[in-house]
């Protein structure tokens, strides 16, 4: 029996736009063990959200199209399932929470009904049973006076409360996998911490796996045990969270880590300057022959521009898509 809960193999998702074909996701692969939290990291437009939507078969088509690959969930290829089969998995085995709690809840439906709806759909509960369970879940995600709040509309709740409602809605059917797409990005920092600890609590309680999509390495450090870094539609580095923070290999991963503000820098009397990665992400429409990060990489050399690197094994469970593995002497010491 395969111990993996989710395996993505060579997944490619292209968007057929009037300007050309955008390779939003270009042959990515990773897997997720039961009970594991995997952080999927990268900047805006690197394909993280598209990856998440592909798992649930929610990529808008047209213009999006899944060109190749397999998504195995409990050894079943989700890409082969018909619409009805996929619908039965959504919200029951795999749930998703979104970035904007403001727009992800239906403004004209009371929150109780929205939380209860998956129960009525998947578990065939009656309206009143589902509402009772919804109240219990709202209470569980620490919404004060949950029972009285069932008839509230989303606009009567704060952003943090709305995200709690979203989480309750995703949890009611006790999914095996939760996909969280930037769950805290739209919230202010104190609320972020509360939501993250709530997610941690629920995760251990339900023993579910979490695919955490974020650009915030701080969030990853708190939540994830493993990290996959994406750049321009590809996986550029993956490994255990601790390894990735202690000894990142790929120049992009290093750049990401360096661009995080650190309190220590200011205390040491250094100018409080943020290190940015120079340049911008290459267009996904133009075909790139070499490494996609070559244009922004401080270590770039001739091979990088000619040929695309593979994901080379770096250490135990750590892999990076970088020619520096083959040509270690090309790494510039201080960059």
């Amino acid at each position: 029996m395969d111990p993996k809960l989710l395996t993505i193999e060579a997944l490619s998702v292209h968007f057929h736009l009037p300007e050309g074909v955008a390779r939003a996701v270009d042959g990515i692969g990773f897997d997720l063990q039961p009970g594991e939290t995997l952080g999927l990291v990268g900047e805006s437009g690197c394909g993280k959200s598209v990856t998440a939507l592909s798992i649930l078969g929610l990529v808008q088509s047209p213009p999006g199209r899944i060109e190749a690959g397999r998504i195995l969930f409990e050894s079943r290829n989700l890409l082969r399932l018909d619409a009805e089969g996929l619908r039965r998995i959504r919200g029951r085995d795999i749930s998703m929470i979104f970035q904007e709690p403001m727009t992800s809840l239906n403004p004209v439906l009371p929150i109780g009904r929205q939380v209860a709806e998956p129960l009525m759909v998947h578990k065939a509960l009656s309206r009143s049973e589902a509402m009772a369970e919804a109240a219990a879940w709202l209470d569980h995600v620490k919404i004060p006076a949950a029972r009285k709040r069932l008839d509230d509309y989303p606009h009567q709740l704060s952003g943090g409360m709305r995200q709690r409602v979203m989480i309750a809605m995703a949890m009611v059917c006790r999914p095996k996998l939760l996909i969280a797409d930037e769950p805290t990005t739209a919230l202010d920092v104190t609320i972020q911490a509360q939501i993250l600890s709530l997610m941690l609590m629920l995760k251990s309680e339900l023993n579910m796996s979490v695919l955490l999509i974020t650009h915030d390495l701080g969030v990853v450090a708190q939540m994830a045990s493993r990290v996959v870094v994406m750049y321009a539609g590809q996986v550029v580095e993956e490994g255990r969270m601790t390894d990735m923070f202690d000894q990142p290999f790929h120049p992009y991963t290093r750049g990401l880590l360096k661009s995080m503000p650190r309190l220590g820098d200011r205390r040491a009397g250094r100018p409080p300057r943020l290190n940015e990665i120079p340049g911008t992400v290459p267009s996904l429409i133009e075909a790139v022959s070499g490494c996609r990060f070559a244009g922004r990489c401080p270590h770039v050399f001739d091979v990088c521009r000619k040929q695309q690197p593979d994901l080379f094994k770096i250490g135990a469970g750590q892999r990076a898509r970088c020619w520096l593995k083959r040509y270690p002497d090309r790494r510039k010491p201080d960059a």
Partner: protein, 274 residues
Amino acid sequence: MKRFFRNKNFTVGFILSLIVIIAAVISLIWTPFDANRMNAKLRLQGPSWQHPLGTDQYGRDTLSRVMVGAVNSIIVGLMTVAIGLSVGVLLGLASAYYGKWVDETIMRFSDFLFGFPAVLTAILITSILGPSMINAMLAISIFYIPVFARLTRAVAMLIWEREFIVAARAAGISEWKIAWRHVLPNILSTLLIQGTIQFAVAILAEAGLSYLGLGTQPPHASWGRMLNEAQTYMSLSPWMAIFPGLAIAWAVLGFNLLGDGLRDTLDPKMVRIR
């Protein structure tokens, strides 16, 4: 409810419409006189204590006939909006959801219906099916289907793009339930506003058709029919034309203001555009 009555349009419209509805309801159980009873001695009377709105060429009491006519108008308004709304919403939702050839077919069909002037279409239909109140309603309803289909399609497409629809899909809710429980409630207020306004238009259209002799048939009282009959006696007894005419204007104004008031209150963005 309070916030509705803060709006002047709504309040005035509500009162005017309510009076029409009350008059109609009362007429079902009581009218001052039998609306169809003729009285040769009292032909073409002006307003008096006995007949506040006068009598017609057969000596029938105009007040009673205007009250009965209100029932007629309300039935026409309700039925046409109900038919146009239910069929139009279904077609509009299908159009917005399926897109492609479904959308093309439904929208070209709408264009086709829109291409004919409404009155001509109605005359065509009633002349084929024969003049009667039912056929007049049918004619108006057919013209209403594309009105509601287009409106539904336009608003539903906006709703279908919203993130909470993706969230509902991610929760495993079927497309049909998403349309019914997530999209429809979001466009209900728009449909209510349009429905109220179309209600007023239907009253006017039925009056027009009945005036032309294509709608309600004598001896049943209908405001348009009364205007038609009054035409001959215009110089002799203008009252006969004035009161049914006023009733039409009153009801149409009332339901239109009600619709405007609803729009101002339910759709605040529209107010800012104005």
